[in-house]
């Protein structure tokens, strides 16, 4: 359970001291800062110095509003605050905090403007500032888009510095000394004689004075934490099986729920017969919900068994029933030629005689985090509490208020640790369905757990996508590249249909990481086409870049091969971004590119810039008699500043494994309106035995700081595709590759 929430109910009294501050400092010139949400619950003697630092007699709690689904952001956020606050990571607790506008995500604006991330011109940044104001208005407390570190890199350190200087001012007031005589270390203000005043003892005084907002951030040469290996704050619990997740929620009087929803996602229930289920042991209630039927029981397994025993006649799918129709819709969209956006048009593509053509496909993919979807909801007297792991607490709060009529301020969303997400928990249907169940049982906490099969069947997948490319080469160089991609709109489905937002204009995810690659190809055009609504789709780790990285780089590799050039050398020649060029040089050096390979070994290279982070990868395989074997991957990534090198390496390796597992093995296909895949035996990603050695290097060749959760994903599939082409002479044109090639 969120600690701030617990504290609020248990120990906070009304009549608190209000201190404004925090997130606003140095950020908004045009509006008042958002209200500090911790102030509502403060008691005498407690100080919430900024929305990110809460100090009371029990200790120091750092509020880490970006949700942790495994990427270690509780730790990273805590480290950024602690760097300036002068506390050790084992001296603090972390808490995701309540949903609040104060925690809006600034960095999301970076990918929502029509400038490539490498463009840091005044015009581009002015546009980002405008979009930022919109984001603030909408209160997008959203975890996604690899934005946690770029969003928090400055403001969390400012929060720590404000808190530190205010505590020093409080110590000065208590002791009669001047601030300049005081230092801070290890969670205490240190007096000239070495006496230590713990922050906890200064909280009451700090609450009485104006926060010190005139702070200067420390230079990197003075950092104790940032850039050095850290132990993540969740690592002891996760190494001993003691970490609690949403699915482990347990409350007095809680009942267990299971659900069956129309596997033709979004379809209706025509009729159901629950007679058998009702008579099963432990079953307390059968409750119809939107698009399905729920079961309340005294044990999760009994609820699962009873749910399976309900006979349900499902209505038709609100989208084409068969997979072939979905592909046909993309092909038709490209044939019709009505563009959604053409964000790049360099040179004069139409003047070039094209000599290379290709059509590539990327399948639907489920997110399938290992912890199935779950939520616990308690409906009280004009109050609702929700405990769940998700990435969109503010939207969930609004959704629950909207569907129940309970005022939004009386809907309390407590964010719990997530057993993976990969974008799955950017959706909150599980909370809505659990709320429907809990509304039928006021006063009783209801925990809804999806069966794995239900989680797979109800997954709002990555979109399918189809690319048609044309290109030309001359004099051993790439001369022209014209890419057209068709894809259903994620924004229409995710933010439009399910969150009720109206988002006019093109869907930037359709051409994401296609149009803004830092290559100076003389004739270079990218056009996106919005396919009609098909299966419901959502954001999947690296979003549009997950398929577009494959499309762009596989086709570029095809053109480079046609030109007879070396794929590293030709990219270096075309590359316009200096830090990106260094990445290619790095992976070439790391892999000894051009060196002698073993018998039947082959290599491929690819590069992709997504979420502001460029990544280059080289993959080596061996074409054995039994099939293709993955041997080794070299990765270089540029994030400006590697905050924690251990977690960085883990996330990069995980991103590569994620990408390869799905590129090789996984797809969701529809038949009779239902996903044909059910569980991990037919949708498994990568397993240990297929995993190559992965060597990672983080470069720091620019000031701007960007994220690493998603950017390692896009280059992996095209690098592998090139290696397969080098090994077999046949270039993969569609994922998953296992449909066309044998792997060991």
């Amino acid at each position: 359970m969120g600690r701030a929430g617990t504290i609020a109910r248990r120990t906070f009294l009304v009549g608190s001291v209000a201190i404004l501050g925090g997130v606003a400092f140095g950020y908004y010139q045009y509006k008042r800062p958002a209200k500090n949400p911790l102030l509502d619950d403060l008691s005498e003697g407690e100080a919430a110095l900024t929305p990110y630092v809460l100090i009371n007699a029990d200790g120091i709690t750092l509020i880490t509003p970006r949700a942790d689904m495994g990427q270690g952001v509780y730790s990273v956020q805590a480290a950024l605050i602690a760097e300036e606050l002068d506390v050790a990571l084992d001296q603090i607790r972390v808490d995701p905090g309540p949903p609040s506008k104060a925690y809006y995500n600034t960095a999301l604006a970076n990918d929502a403007v029509p400038f490539p991330s490498t463009d840091q011109s005044a015009a581009a940044n002015a546009m980002r500032g405008t979009v930022d104001a919109v984001m603030k208005f909408m209160g997008m407390q959203l975890t996604g888009g690899s934005t946690t570190v770029p969003d928090g890199y400055e403001k969390l350190r400012v929060a720590g510095a404000v808190a530190r200087e205010t505590l020093k001012a409080a110590a000065a007031a208590q002791t009669g000394m001047t601030v300049s005589q005081l230092t801070t270390e290890g969670g205490a203000v240190v007096l000239p004689d070495g006496k230590r005043l713990p922050y906890e003892a200064l909280a009451a005084t700090a609450a009485q004075i104006d926060p010190v907002t005139d702070v200067t951030l420390r230079p990197s040469t003075q950092w104790r934490l940032i850039g050095k290996p850290m132990r993540r704050v969740d690592m002891v619990a996760k190494s001993t099986g003691t970490q609690s997740y949403g699915i482990d929620m347990r409350m007095d009087g809680m009942v267990h729920a299971a659900i069956r929803l129309n596997p033709r996602k979004g379809g209706d229930v025509v009729s159901h017969d629950a007679a058998t289920a009702e008579s099963m042991r432990g079953v307390q209630k059968i409750i119809p919900v939107t698009g399905g039927v729920g079961v309340i029981a005294d044990n999760t397994w009994r609820a699962f068994q009873a749910a399976d025993a309900i006979e349900i006649d499902w209505g038709p799918a609100p989208y084409p029933a068969e997979q072939a129709e979905h592909w046909q819709a993309l092909s038709d969209t490209l044939d019709a030629g009505e563009q959604d956006a053409q964000p790049r048009d360099d040179g004069d593509v139409d003047s070039v005689t094209m000599t290379v053509e290709a059509e590539y496909r990327a399948p639907y993919l489920a997110h399938a985090p290992l912890e199935p979807l779950n939520a616990t909801v308690l409906v009280g007297d004009n109050r609702i509490d929700v405990w769940t792991g998700n990435q969109i607490p503010r939207m969930t709060q609004a959704s629950v208020a909207d569907m129940t009529g309970v005022p939004v301020e009386n809907v309390h969303v407590h964010i719990l640790m997530m057993g993976g997400s990969f974008g799955h928990r950017l959706e909150d249907e599980v909370v809505k369905r659990c709320t429907e169940l809990a509304m039928a049982l006021p006063g009783t906490p209801v925990k809804l757990t999806y069966k794995r099969e239900e989680d797979t069947a109800q997954d709002y997948t990555r979109p399918i996508a189809m690319m048609r490319g044309r290109g030309a080469v001359a004099d051993g160089k790439v001369l022209a590249m014209d890419i057209r991609v068709a894809c259903p709109s994620i924004l229409d489905s995710q933010m439009g249909e399910r969150q009720g937002m109206s988002l006019p204009g093109p869907d930037s995810t359709i051409t994401q990481a296609l149009w803004d690659q830092p290559y100076a190809i003389p004739h270079y055009r990218v056009t996106g086409y919005r396919a009609p609504k098909l299966g419901p789709v959502s954001s999947w780790r690296s979003v549009g870049a997950s398929q577009n990285g494959f499309f762009h780089e596989n086709f570029l590799n095809a053109l480079i091969h046609e030109a007879g050039a070396d794929p590293v050398e030709e990219r270096l020649r075309l590359m316009t971004d200096a830090p990106s060029r260094k990445l290619l040089e790095a992976v070439a050096e790391m892999s000894n590119w051009g060196g002698t390979l073993g018998a039947d070994a082959a290599r491929g290279v690819a590069f992709s810039l997504s979420f502001g982070t460029p990544v280059a990868e080289v993959i080596e395989i061996t074409n054995t008699e039994a099939g293709i074997k993955l041997d080794k991957v070299w990765v270089a990534a540029e994030v400006g500043r590697v905050v924690d090198p251990v977690n960085f390496e883990n996330l990069v390796q995980g991103g590569v494994i994620w990408a390869l597992g799905h590129a090789i093995n996984s797809q969701i296909t529809y038949a009779d309106g239902r996903a044909e895949q059910e569980n991990f035996f037919d949708f498994e990603g990568l397993r240990n035995y297929q995993t190559p050695e992965i060597v990672v290097r983080g470069l720091e060749n620019r000031d701007r700081v960007t994220g690493i959760g998603e950017p390692p994903v896009p280059p992996a599939a095209p690098a592998l595709a090139e290696a397969i082409f080098q090994a077999t002479g046949e270039r993969p044109t569609e994922m998953p590759f296992a449909n066309s090639f044998t792997f060991v």
């Binding site: 495994g70 990427q71 270690g72 132990r231 993540r232 969740d234 690592m235 002891v236 619990a237 996760k238 190494s239 001993t240 099986g241 003691t242 609690s244 997740y245 699915i247 347990r250 267990h256 044990n299 999760t300 397994w301 009994r302 699962f304 399938a368 985090p369 290992l370 912890e371 199935p372 057993g419 993976g420 997400s421 990969f422 757990t449 069966k451 794995r452 099969e453 251990v646 977690n647 883990n650 996330l651 390796q653 995980g654 991103g655 590569v656 494994i657 994620w658 597992g661 569980n679 991990f680 035996f681 498994e684 990603g685 990568l686 397993r687 240990n688 035995y689 995993t691 050695e693 992965i694």
Partner: protein, 152 residues
């Protein structure tokens, strides 16, 4: 019926075919074993029965014929098993949801194969799915734990 878990006897009044996983989680209150797939395809629910790693989601409680050990019984934050200490040293986890099962599988491997080769590790650990992709660290941690156990 009665089962012994982490050294403690528990009387449980459940159907014979209830999987051990749900007896552990919902009846006894041990959350270390995780539900991931329900069909023995992911390994998140792995526990030991008589020291042998089994998938508790596919083990009817009536088939439990010896003492059960869960990740909570392998060791704890104050007294870690060598495998847990290795997992911490290598900072294996990302989301961590599969890691209890991974560690139970690794502990069983090392109990009968004290110096596992890469092939031994691949064969023993490939039934345990990690969607975050921590396999490189799992391999390294298994080797570290093996060294610790051999030295002790």
């Amino acid at each position: 019926m009665q089962i012994t878990v982490n050294g403690a006897a528990h009387d449980v009044d459940v159907e014979e075919d209830m999987p051990l996983l749900w007896v552990l989680r919902d009846e006894i209150g041990l959350d270390g074993p995780k539900y991931g797939c329900g069909v023995a395809a992911c390994g998140a629910c792995t526990v030991h029965i008589n020291g042998v790693a089994v998938r508790s989601c596919q083990t009817p409680v009536s088939d439990v014929d010896g003492p059960v050990t869960t990740i909570e019984g392998l060791g704890n934050p104050d007294q870690m098993h060598a495998v847990q200490a290795a997992w911490l040293e290598h900072q294996v986890a990302q989301c961590g949801y599969c890691q209890g099962g991974q560690m139970m599988q690794a502990a069983e491997l090392l109990s009968h194969t004290p110096d596992p080769s890469d092939t031994d590790i691949d064969e023993a650990m490939s039934g345990n799915l990690c969607r975050c992709g921590t396999y490189p660290r799992i391999r390294a941690a298994v080797k570290t734990a093996a060294k610790t156990l051999q030295g002790s």
